[in-house]
Symmetry: C2
Subunit: 309 residues, 2 copies
Amino acid sequence: MPEREFIEYIRELTARNEAACPWLEVGVGDDAAVVRTPGAGRLLVTTDMVVEGVHFVTGTGMELVGHKAVARGLSDIAAMAGRPLFTVAAVHLAPGSTDADARALVRAISEAAERYGAPLIGGDVCRGGGALNVTLTAVGTPGPGGVVLRSGARTGDAVCVTGRLGASIRGRHLTFAPRIREALALGEGFDVHALIDVSDGLSTDVLHLAEASGVGVRLQEAAIPVSEDAETQARQTGRRPIEHALDDGEDYELLFCLPRKQARALVERGLEGLEVTVVGEVVKGSESCLILPDGSREPLRAGGWEYEV
Amino acid sequence: MPEREFIEYIRELTARNEAACPWLEVGVGDDAAVVRTPGAGRLLVTTDMVVEGVHFVTGTGMELVGHKAVARGLSDIAAMAGRPLFTVAAVHLAPGSTDADARALVRAISEAAERYGAPLIGGDVCRGGGALNVTLTAVGTPGPGGVVLRSGARTGDAVCVTGRLGASIRGRHLTFAPRIREALALGEGFDVHALIDVSDGLSTDVLHLAEASGVGVRLQEAAIPVSEDAETQARQTGRRPIEHALDDGEDYELLFCLPRKQARALVERGLEGLEVTVVGEVVKGSESCLILPDGSREPLRAGGWEYEV
């Protein structure tokens, strides 16, 4: 079944739990859960797998696998404008992997976790049958601007994205840095109404954000920042670069909504040295569309990554 | 390489992180990590995998797999005398599993988590190549008696165990209830100096506890509470029932050290309806031994489960 359908099933299952958990502020459905701990502060929690054959090809270096596992988890903390605290990791080794592989993988996880400010404080390791996989659980706290959800976009907001999009498969999906510092600066210095990371693909994640916020988004095709990788990839696939930028996913850039004036300031000055582009606007209603360079429009379709589970 | 050697490697790797983390009270090496969150209370954190072919045989019902994943994680919180707060789960489905399997597994995880007071608040799911596995991350807070580590056993303490041990492979390794309530009562009402759950096997876990505490343990073979399963299993394996009780593991009972007088009270009254047995005493030095029924002694050897990773 499609991942989305399965997540809906989990959401229904856990809804009962949520009713019994007044301390659970945000459950299944955003980038991370938000928990108010008893006698303690609020925590952000996310758990994510990277699986051989799904998130990386067989033969990928252990350094890259470990890095991706950590960066992916921390991107979910960034997508809540959170500050990472710590990580734990469970490593399932493939039968043929060597001791050197196992050490290199755990070292890569530990180093990436330290680099991004979320030290690895525990874990589990096992050698079983089949694919290598790593489950990374990250815990954080709200940043100085508080938690930013997917669901707060307001009519009239500008829709912005950091960096350039498309064809992360050429390498960036393994090497990207989670936008932690940038998201913290965004939360602290701007009235960000909604925030998500671009993991499933711009088109799909814009729809996630719009649906969660109960609004529509007009996405301007001509405005979308296309990566060099997307240009290169397009020459090989015969597709247009913009299609890669719209639908490929795993960019792990920040997609967010805020007042237009603030967006202009960000476009001019950048965000912590990172390029920011206005790619659309938030409109009333529940219809999202893609405005083509000739001014015509078509319904925005979720062309991005959808796992089958 | 043996799991123990690998854990030592991870401990070295993360030691550097720990030095940079004054808020990390207990890192790799106990049943759960202990973290002091900024402006917040202390958290217990543990992450554990259950893997097809390692922790359960192929064909085990999804209800049992889901239950075991949760119970195992929460047993680690109990082993710190902690109170569970919440859980997150990552599910890696085998290629041949059906949608019904996937739903049943997640439902089982959610139900077990709710039953044991640690609601499932988030997760990830993916279908990859190879073995089914579930990674369960559990977060808790210290119980009313504070955190109890493995490392506080004192010379003269009685060494106690709850329940009966051995041959959990006959079913209990899937169906056991984590000793959460019992561990909380223990922490609150008694001067428990050291606590661990019996996961690797009594002999191995006694040695873990002794090593962490810098003491020896004299284990009385005749005192060890042998389960009916161990009696049954022994008739099939030709081994003695006591060998199963000593070495099989996955009992998930509580093993703990406290003053003798308090131990006697526990043996008389039980712990939350559960049988408690004194199985030995803590002695000076670093040598642990097994005292046989005829009064002779032999060095205690870690006969329990040791994963190769």
